[in-house]
């Protein structure tokens, strides 16, 4: 990118299953106000506003047009992006590109979903092609169930391993005041939770949350003059995936798949070979427990088939050597349009040292985040504390 870009502010709502106290513009406005306050800025200073959201989840076409006042976009430049679960991260990339272009100095990006206002399961089944698979689509649960059964059959992992991920996420979430599912659960609780689609149980899946996240990105000059703790966006990369071949659940596949292709390109941009050592914290998009284990492998934090050993050894715990999702992750909060942006914002908070009770107990200088959506897509973002890191 032609100019350095920093995150100079951000904010999020308290995420919850029910938010009857606000309509969609009001909910988005909570996050926007929090971001502006964090950046010590007024909306008048913002040059352009980007919204990320998936219109079917609320049953409203062109949410950006309805939410224009809540977003603070009235009279301003702006646009809306819709790339599925990755959209919050795509909005961050888009904001970074706008700043890097030299045309805009301060860009506000927003991701939100008010999932209670639509039928999430039916909408996720609508991801399937209308003529091929939609009539018996298993929504996200069926997909991750096949991933879990494939992972266990291939590598000898047990249901206990997915339960460990479920527990880590919810225990971390208890330290995060904004998280939706703050559950004091044990491995036994996870293993005894209701079976949804073998081997996926209730506690193996993310919730349907309402919430929003907003961030303000700026050029280097603005960032250095206005922010005490700018967090720098060092590299981003996007990899989508073909429509009908869902290889992520085929854990032994030899084909190059989206997650590995994207990580490979991102690491080349950064010139790194050992991501587990290079990055101090990871925020990954794990809609289901098994997906987190596969992220470990696809990001190169361990070898193929070793992901479940990392969780078993506690290496990805908040105080472990490779902390993953200290925020509680998507398993604790999933407001789809915001989820991928929350990964970036939570990583930025870790780098700033502002994550409060879920702050990783070590010096955090570099972070990696992933988004996940569509028929297997990802957007990855690498952040750092200074431009020298």
């Amino acid at each position: 990118m032609k100019r350095n870009v920093a995150i100079i502010g951000g904010g999020q709502t308290y995420h919850a299953a029910r938010r009857h106290d606000v309509d969609e513009p009001e909910m988005v406005n909570e996050a926007v106000r929090a971001a502006l306050k964090d950046a010590r800025m007024t909306i008048d200073e913002i040059d352009l506003v980007i919204l990320g959201n998936m219109e079917f989840f609320e049953g409203t076409h062109m949410t950006d047009c309805w939410l224009v006042h809540g977003m603070g976009a009235y009279g301003k430049q702006g646009l809306k992006i819709t790339t599925g679960g990755t959209v919050g991260a795509t909005a961050v990339c888009a904001a970074a590109h706008h700043v890097a272009s030299g045309l805009f100095d301060k860009v506000l990006c927003i991701g939100f979903e008010k999932q209670e206002e639509g039928d999430t399961g039916a909408i996720l089944s609508g991801v399937a092609n209308p003529l091929w698979g939609r009539s018996m689509a298993g929504a996200a649960v069926g997909y991750f169930a096949m991933m879990g059964s494939s992972y266990m059959a291939a590598w000898g992992a047990k249901e206990e391993h997915s339960a460990m991920v479920a527990v880590k996420a919810r225990q971390n979430a208890r330290r995060n005041k904004y998280a939706h599912l703050k559950l004091d659960i044990t491995i036994e609780d996870a293993l005894n939770s209701r079976m949804l689609a073998w081997p996926i149980r209730m506690l193996d899946m993310c919730p349907a949350s309402n919430g929003a996240c907003a961030m303000i990105l700026a050029d280097e000059k603005t960032a250095k003059s206005r922010s005490k703790k700018p967090v720098w966006i060092r590299a981003t990369d996007t990899a989508h995936n073909e429509q009908f071949e869902l290889d992520w659940r085929d854990v032994k596949t030899n084909r190059l798949i989206f997650s590995r292709a994207c990580a490979g390109r991102l690491y080349r941009k950064l010139g790194i070979t050992d991501p587990a050592k290079y990055f101090d914290v990871f925020e990954v998009y794990e809609p289901a427990t098994w997906a987190e284990l596969i992220w470990y492998e696809d990001l190169g934090l361990c070898g193929p088939g070793e992901g479940f050993r990392l969780i078993e050894q506690g290496r990805t715990n908040i105080d472990g050597p490779i902390p993953v999702n200290p925020s509680g992750g998507v398993l604790s909060t999933n407001c789809i349009g915001a989820s991928a942006m929350l990964r970036v914002w939570e990583a930025a908070l870790q780098i700033r040292g502002d994550a409060g009770e879920h702050q990783v107990p070590k010096d955090v200088r570099r972070a990696l985040t992933t988004g996940y959506g569509g028929t297997n897509w990802t957007v990855m973002t690498a952040l750092s504390k200074t431009l020298d890191d």
Binding site: R3, D64, C65, V99, T238, E242, C262, G374
Partner: protein
């Protein structure tokens, strides 16, 4: 702009009321394969990223860029979808190239209006709590806008009908258009009333189709074509959502978007600098309103300006020589089609609809009812 971004290729489907022979992925493939062939570029190496414009609700698929990922070269690569009118894809594509992240980008917009019900899709764009249950759609909202504009400035139905007569006559020269003809003002006035003052011929018809376009950095563009069309200025702006919050006869968002685009292009007086315009005339009267918003004539003068013949194909500032959206261009595709037509004009490749001596063109698109979000693109050869 310190660096320049060029449009190096365009392709359009032949627009039609209904394309029963293709799904939207196959329809997109028609224009993607053609624009690649025309520019001599190939996937995956020559294209850095892809941007598509469509809406899940029109496509009937959640995250509907899934349906075009294969054909747009998105597999394992960067692909993004914007839920905006296609004109904004040009804005966003140009930003991506100026950022230094990409040097050659493939843009595509598609919609099959025939596969669902326009009124219902439009209705869902109204907020669910306050206005949706009134049963609004874009046409009924446009009728309010038309009435307010006519009342405030003394614009008549005849003034708006002249836009239809001009554009459908122009469309006869455009092989991609499907609605065209030698109409009279009386024909337009006597077409069936839909939402007075809007009658059938005042309203762009339901259409299926797609448009693809390739953007490149200056360095790449020079290698790809000897007829690059440069993006000189871009600007967007949001107006308020609720009709009651807006001055419906006004052009608040368009004026701001245009001012931003003109400033970037260094255009002080668009009346003098601009040779032709392609505007999104979803409804006849909107062409008049948008001419005012773009600064081509004074407020309230759109009717008289058009009646003077200034916007005709041989006029001082030809507007919609292609036939415009009224000749049949799908929702969301409309703005990208405006840009594509302007590019053909600036390359001198517009065939029978060619405007002679065209050097600077303006393309305009809008998203949301009554033009809530506006996008202006200034192009030069």
């Amino acid at each position: 702009m310190t660096e320049r971004v060029a449009i190096v290729g365009v392709a359009q489907t032949r627009f039609a009321p209904k394309r029963p022979d293709v799904n939207y992925g196959e329809m997109a493939y028609e224009v993607i394969s053609r624009v690649l062939q025309d520019t001599g570029l190939a996937l995956p190496d020559d294209i850095d990223n892809a941007i598509s414009c469509s809406h899940d609700i029109w496509d009937g698929q959640t995250i509907s860029d899934i349906g075009i990922t294969d054909v747009i070269g998105g597999h394992l690569r960067a692909e993004e979808k914007m839920a905006m009118d296609g004109s904004t894809a040009v804005f966003y594509g140009a930003v991506g190239i100026l950022s230094g992240e990409y040097s050659c980008s493939l843009l595509m917009a598609h919609t099959k209006m025939s596969q669902t019900n326009r009124n219902i899709v439009n209705n869902v764009a109204f907020d669910p709590i306050y206005t949706r249950m009134l049963g609004f759609d874009y046409t009924s909202a446009a009728a309010l806008q038309a009435r307010r504009y006519m009342y405030k400035y003394g614009i008549t139905r005849e003034d708006a009908a002249r836009v239809v007569v001009k554009n459908l006559a122009n469309a006869k020269r455009n092989p991609f258009a499907w609605q065209s003809g030698d109409l009279t003002v009386a024909d337009v006035l006597s077409s069936p009333a839909v939402a007075p003052p809007l009658h059938k011929l005042d309203i762009a018809p339901d259409t299926d189709g797609a448009v693809a376009l390739i953007l490149a950095s200056e360095e790449r563009a020079r290698k790809i074509t000897d007829k690059p069309v440069w993006i000189l200025g871009i600007g967007t702006c949001y107006d308020a959502h609720y009709l009651g919050d807006r001055d419906l006869s006004g052009v608040f968002a368009l004026e701001k978007a245009a001012a931003r685009a003109y400033a970037m292009a260094g255009i002080k007086n668009p009346r003098r600098s601009v040779d032709l315009a392609e505007v999104s005339d979803d409804f006849s009267y909107q062409e008049l309103l948008w001419l005012e918003g773009l600064g081509f004539c004074d407020r309230g003068e759109g009717g008289r300006y058009t009646a003077s013949g200034a916007t005709a194909l041989g006029g001082k500032l030809p507007v919609n020589p292609s036939g415009g959206v009224l000749s049949g261009v799908p929702a969301n595709v409309a703005g990208l089609n405006r840009v594509a037509e302007a590019v053909l004009q600036l390359r001198g490749e517009a065939g029978d609809r060619q405007v002679r001596g065209a050097n600077i063109a303006v393309a305009q698109g809008h998203s949301g009812f009554c033009g809530q979000h506006q996008c202006v693109v200034v192009l030069g050869n």
